[in-house]
């Protein structure tokens, strides 16, 4: 007699697995999906300092999209996000390919590129804030070496501050992207590369024509992970620039927080949170769907 591993046993045994899973699933249903609906309701209410459940339709969304601050946040996210994703991937791929050249001290170097990922964004922000501080940081040091006119004051310049956020973010995440590409490179079939070498292809051609196209899954994962990290970035900006100078480094995440908790515009804050969620969902849902469909079992 064969026993299928589900559905045969009767009574409690039959329900036990579902009972075990139930509390976790209930928590997720309430605290994730229920709360999202709650936030959606708030975004269509007249809430200001406290939740008020009076229907206001899309009023908060209209107000959101009439805020110059919100456009600033979106523009900054576009600058930060595109730099963060492209530079992390370019740098990560470059380092991965360099490390893949039979480097004897790979075991020493890899952890050095990767350790920033273990730090909290607040620590990263604190360190870079000090390092880029024009008065006493890097600028002052280089001037002390005799380059009297050397200037690096992006941290305090409204038009350039967002780029310092990108620099710190790239420093933190590029090692992780390198590790993703390195794992991809190690999975490539050696026979194929040998055949290409025998055919007389140059290293550059081999990488451009064979290796990099084979890394497509790693590229996709990297873009998804980085895009979703960019949208969620909050701590880094708070610690590095506090959203300033002025509102120069405002991001949707900092916008949401300040409108909800300090400016008493809860409905507008909720509306901005819903837009952020939609942005993430647009990236993650198709990706997760295709990932889950792949393993048919």
């Amino acid at each position: 007699m064969s026993v299928p591993y589900s559905g045969v046993r009767r009574g409690l045994q039959d329900w036990l697995p579902r009972l075990v899973l139930a509390p976790s699933f209930a928590l997720v249903l309430i605290f994730v999906y229920g709360f999202i609906v709650w936030t959606a309701v708030l975004s269509m209410s007249k809430s200001r300092i406290l939740p008020v459940y009076k229907w206001a339709g899309f009023d908060a969304y209209e107000r959101l999209f009439s805020q110059p601050n919100w456009y600033m946040a979106l523009k900054n996210l576009a600058i930060f996000g595109s730099l963060y994703i492209t530079v992390c991937i370019a740098l990560g791929l470059f380092l991965a390919i360099l490390l893949d050249q039979k480097i004897r001290i790979e075991g020493v170097l890899r952890p050095i590129y990767l350790y920033p990922m273990a730090l909290s964004f607040v620590v990263t922000g604190t360190a870079w804030k000090w390092f880029l501080n024009p008065g006493m940081g890097l600028q002052n040091t280089v001037r002390g070496w005799g380059f009297e006119t050397f200037t690096f004051d992006w941290l305090v310049r409204p038009d350039m501050a967002i780029y310092t956020v990108a620099i710190a973010g790239i420093w933190q995440a590029s090692g992780f992207v390198m590790a993703m590409f390195l794992a991809g490179l190690r999975g490539i079939d050696s026979e194929m590369l040998k055949a290409a070498t025998v055919d007389g292809a140059s290293t550059f051609t081999i990488y451009r024509r064979i290796v990099i196209p084979l890394l497509r899954p790693a590229f996709l994962s990297a873009v998804i992970v980085l895009a979703h990290m960019a949208i969620k970035s909050y701590d880094l900006v708070i610690a590095l620039t506090g959203g300033g100078p002025g509102n120069a480094t405002e991001l949707p995440s900092t916008f949401m927080y300040s409108y909800t908790f300090t400016r008493s515009q809860m409905a507008v804050g909720s509306a901005s949170a819903m837009i952020m969620l939609m942005g993430i969902a647009a990236i993650m849902v198709p990706y997760l769907y295709s990932e889950l469909r792949e393993d048919k079992r």
Partner: protein, 295 residues
């Protein structure tokens, strides 16, 4: 591996020049990645006079541990001047139960979702998985209300609850992917021998789960220790975690700015996760990779 490396080596035509350039580039990047940590460490051992004098990249001329002592025990955060030690313990009291509970639940969930499948198991898992990636801004206001109603605002217990709930998706993902590869036959034959649900989990799956437990614990520890958003939203006062206290310390604008104390506090905040990383970097990496969805 070695065959492939040979293929690459012959492809590269291993001229000495090439090797020098490659090692040179790798060394330069290593120096760049290490610089912020180096600056943090050296600054934390300098006196304020020396910092004002100058070179941020220089080693401390007269190393002093005073900034560390002050950061730990007497720096002013908000209105109290007891240093960051209280907040360090807050973080520890938050992180230990949150990691243990979310890992235990994740293990059971992963077990059910692979070995006791029911109709709709994929949707359940998909919903738990998507929950990992939501921007937490979209649950922040309701969570603040509910914590207030439960009497858990500004408490470590409240933060433990929050981190367990929003960590469940990842812990379930880790164990599900791990148990997916665990042979069903072993589970089935144990069932034939009359072993029940928990016996099978306890006697058969759990003993071989050590690697994934390590990965999961490290991942959760790093994430929860490093969290800032939940901490600042739900526990900003005396019960704030380390990251929030560090930010308050650095952002405070009263009195003389003590960069050395700031940096010492930052290193203290980074130390637990850095130590874990140094001791178990391999597992840390595996957790990150699995967090990038592919198991």
């Amino acid at each position: 591996m070695s065959q492939r490396e040979m293929a690459i080596a012959t492809a590269a035509g291993p001229s000495r020049m090439n090797r020098v350039v490659i090692y040179g580039l790798l060394a330069i990047f290593a120096a760049i990645y290490l610089t912020p940590l180096f600056v943090m460490l050296t600054t934390s051992f300098k006196s304020l006079d020396e910092i004002r004098g100058g070179d941020i990249l220089a080693l401390p001329a007269h190393p002093t541990t005073k900034p560390w002592v002050k950061a730990w025990g007497s720096a002013c955060i908000g209105v109290t001047c007891d240093g960051i030690k209280g907040y360090f313990w807050n973080s520890l009291r938050m992180v230990v139960p949150a990691v243990l509970i979310s890992t235990a639940l994740g293990a059971l969930n992963g077990y059910v979702l692979t070995k006791w499948r029911f109709r709709g198991h994929k949707i359940v898992f998909g919903m738990m998985l998507f929950a990992c990636f939501i921007p937490f801004q979209s649950v922040l206001i309701p969570m603040a209300r509910v914590l207030g109603q439960l009497g858990l605002s500004n408490s470590t217990a409240g933060l433990v609850l929050v981190h367990v709930v929003y960590g469940l998706g990842f812990t379930t993902l880790f164990f599900r992917n791990y148990y997916e590869a665990f042979p069903d036959e072993l589970v089935q034959s144990a069932q034939m021998d009359g072993a029940g649900f928990f016996t099978i989990f306890w006697r058969i799956l759990l003993p071989s789960s050590a690697p994934i437990i390590v990965v999961c614990v490290i991942y959760q520890f790093t994430n929860i220790w490093n969290d800032f958003l939940f901490g600042v939203s739900f526990a900003s006062g005396e019960s704030a975690p380390m990251t929030v206290a560090l930010n308050n310390l650095v952002a405070s604008s009263t009195g003389v700015k003590e960069y050395n104390v700031d940096m010492a506090a930052a290193v203290i905040a980074a130390l637990p996760t850095l130590i874990v990383y140094v001791l178990a970097g391999r597992y840390f990496m595996r957790g990150l990779m699995a967090g990038a969805v592919k198991g």
